[in-house]
């Protein structure tokens, strides 16, 4: 996974900056955005391979960002982060084209595995529905 480019999007800045540092220690090039608008700008500028996206954010929501990415850059995989205690929100996100989802708090091993899976499936990405089961 050396050189994998990931954009982490969450309005909890302390959380997302720390998570980015942990991913960098694992050889993953992780950038950070703290709202939906910043995420959309960074997707356009940096074209990450995977976007890890909080669902609930002020302003442009995670679902809005997901739909924008699916329209404009279907090759970019999106993994949703949900703070809800059930899988309902994540499954709904996958119906809208997310590759997969994780529930907060995340296990770093689970996240890196899902990033790996997402990039592994990149070749097969054609802009359709997300393909992984949680």
């Amino acid at each position: 996974m050396e050189g994998l480019r990931v954009l982490l999007v969450d309005d909890e800045e302390e959380f997302v900056v720390t998570l980015a540092e942990r991913l960098k220690l694992r050889g993953i090039e992780a950038r950070v955005a703290t709202d939906g608008d910043e995420a959309l700008t960074k997707v356009e500028e940096e074209l990450p391979q995977v976007v890890v996206l909080d669902v609930m954010m002020p302003g442009t929501s995670g679902i809005d960002v997901l739909q924008h990415i699916r329209r404009r850059h279907p090759e970019v995989r999106v993994i949703l982060l949900t703070g809800r205690g059930s899988t309902k929100e994540g499954i709904e996100g996958m119906r809208l084209g997310a590759f997969d989802f994780l529930m907060k708090p995340v296990k770093i091993e689970d996240l890196t595995q899902k990033l790996h899976d997402a990039v592994g499936s990149e070749a097969g990405a054609s802009g359709g529905e997300g393909g992984q089961k949680p």
């Binding site: 302390e14 720390t18 609930m56 954010m57 002020p58 703070g83 708090p105």
Partner: protein, 217 residues
């Protein structure tokens, strides 16, 4: 307990537990980072010390935030202990501002409480009064734009609480206003308002969105 009250409690509890998950997620990543750094810098204690001294305050801040959320959850739960009860209006509004701030933040709107110097109490049902105040905030949020704020102004002399949507550069709430009829959007509160002996009316001040909640004296 009626369905409206159950729905209110559910919504508030969901919001608070979501916030708590953010707190725990941040603590988990901070602790995880410390764990990651230990083997990397095992021969450089000064580097570890410098890094840990930066991470630890963040953990302590998240613990403080978690304790605050727990206290608010506890107060929400205990608001049902007695009815009627003497309710300090400022304390109640402070609870409502905390509980509703998350929903305001998602709309990029700020809630600002303008407390009066004197304390003011009413004998009423604490949960139902809180529900009415939260509904007033919701109503104002529907009419507010990103960047605006909602001023919450207790007016003990009139047994009212005023809710005014203000632009970011509008420093003080309006003092000249007229209270109109109950807005249609809040007609579902009729029964609760009747039980409380309270009322809600549109606050007319310079064409902006606002509400006045009339409390029982």
């Amino acid at each position: 307990m009626r369905q409206q009250e159950v729905a209110y409690l559910g919504r508030m509890t969901a919001g608070l537990t979501h916030e708590m998950k953010n707190v725990l997620a941040t603590i988990k990543e901070s602790a995880g980072l410390m764990s990651d750094l230990l083997p990397i810098h095992v021969d450089k204690p000064e580097v570890l010390k410098e890094r840990f001294e930066r991470i630890l305050p963040s953990i302590l801040e998240q613990v403080r935030r978690g304790v605050e959320i727990s206290n608010r959850m506890s107060r929400l739960a205990h608001s049902m202990d007695h009815s009627p009860a003497d309710v300090d209006v400022h304390d109640l509004l402070d609870e409502v501002v905390f509980l509703m701030s998350r929903f305001a933040r998602l709309k990029q709107v700020v809630l600002t409480l303008f407390p009066e110097a004197a304390r003011w109490s009413v004998s009423t049902d604490p949960l139902r009064l809180q529900l009415v105040m939260a509904a007033a905030v919701d109503h104002c949020l529907e009419g507010a734009q990103a960047g605006q704020r909602i001023a919450i102004v207790p007016a003990s002399g009139q047994s009212r609480v005023l809710f005014q949507v203000l632009d970011a550069d509008q420093g003080s709430p309006a003092t000249e206003y007229r209270v109109g009829a109950r807005p249609e959007g809040l007609s579902g509160l009729a029964e609760v308002l009747e039980e409380l002996g309270a009322d809600v009316g549109v606050l007319e001040f310079g064409g902006a969105v606002g509400l006045a909640v009339q409390l029982p004296k």
